[in-house]
Symmetry: C2
């Protein structure tokens, strides 16, 4: 072993999923999303990673419904989300009116991440096109 054993802390079966700099993908999934005023908007279902750059490009936020039934899924540009350690969730600066008309899909639909769907999201939130 080349690893200093101090780095590994025995007795805790759950490994550290978050530090001030890093967060694990399976911790991001399920994390709540709030408005700046503290209202809960939804929660992160998953993030979409750009294969080439390795950068998180989009998050899918779920909203409404009950145990997966009737939920809506909102693809959001990742850069609109800011982690707020006090809320223990992401803060998103999207107004209720803006969210009402936002691109979304539901459990019976798929989202076209291949180009047109991402452009729709980029355009709606006035972000530079991810696939420019």
């Amino acid at each position: 072993m080349t690893v200093d054993s101090n780095l590994r802390v025995a007795g805790n079966p759950v490994d550290t999923r978050e530090t001030p700099s890093l967060i694990s993908s399976d911790k991001v999934e399920g994390t709540a999303v709030y408005r700046p005023n503290g209202d809960k908007v939804g929660q992160i279902e998953r993030v979409m990673i750009d294969k080439l750059s390795g950068k998180v490009a989009y998050a899918v936020m779920s909203f409404g419904g009950f145990m997966g039934f009737g939920e809506d899924y909102y693809p959001l540009p990742w850069s609109l989300l800011t982690y707020n350690p006090q809320l223990e969730g992401y803060e998103v600066n999207i107004g209720q009116e803006q969210l009402k008309g936002a691109p979304k899909y539901n459990a019976h639909e798929t989202w076209d991440w291949g180009g047109r769907g991402t452009r729709t999201v980029d355009d709606y939130y006035n972000m530079p096109s991810h696939f420019a």
Copy 2:
């Protein structure tokens, strides 16, 4: 709705988790990791995302064990992994000997992602320090 309904394909309850450019976090988790010769090395448990840059910095690869018992977890710099569409998995250019001495932990331990643990990984694989 501002979204063209063509973007949403009804009748398929599973949304698209991969395109040529994007892959979803919950699809990366569980994806197999192979050597260039096609041998399976392990599978991705999770990825660690840099909060500031939004970039995937590390992957945790699990190896060995059975249904979570006796598994070892290898933190790897994300840039060492290349997706190979033919193998439907990630290819990693790490020899068997190199992996033998590599930084790892097990189900009863935690990994220090806070600084020393990531430096150990960066040093072992001769990568520029993630937190330089």
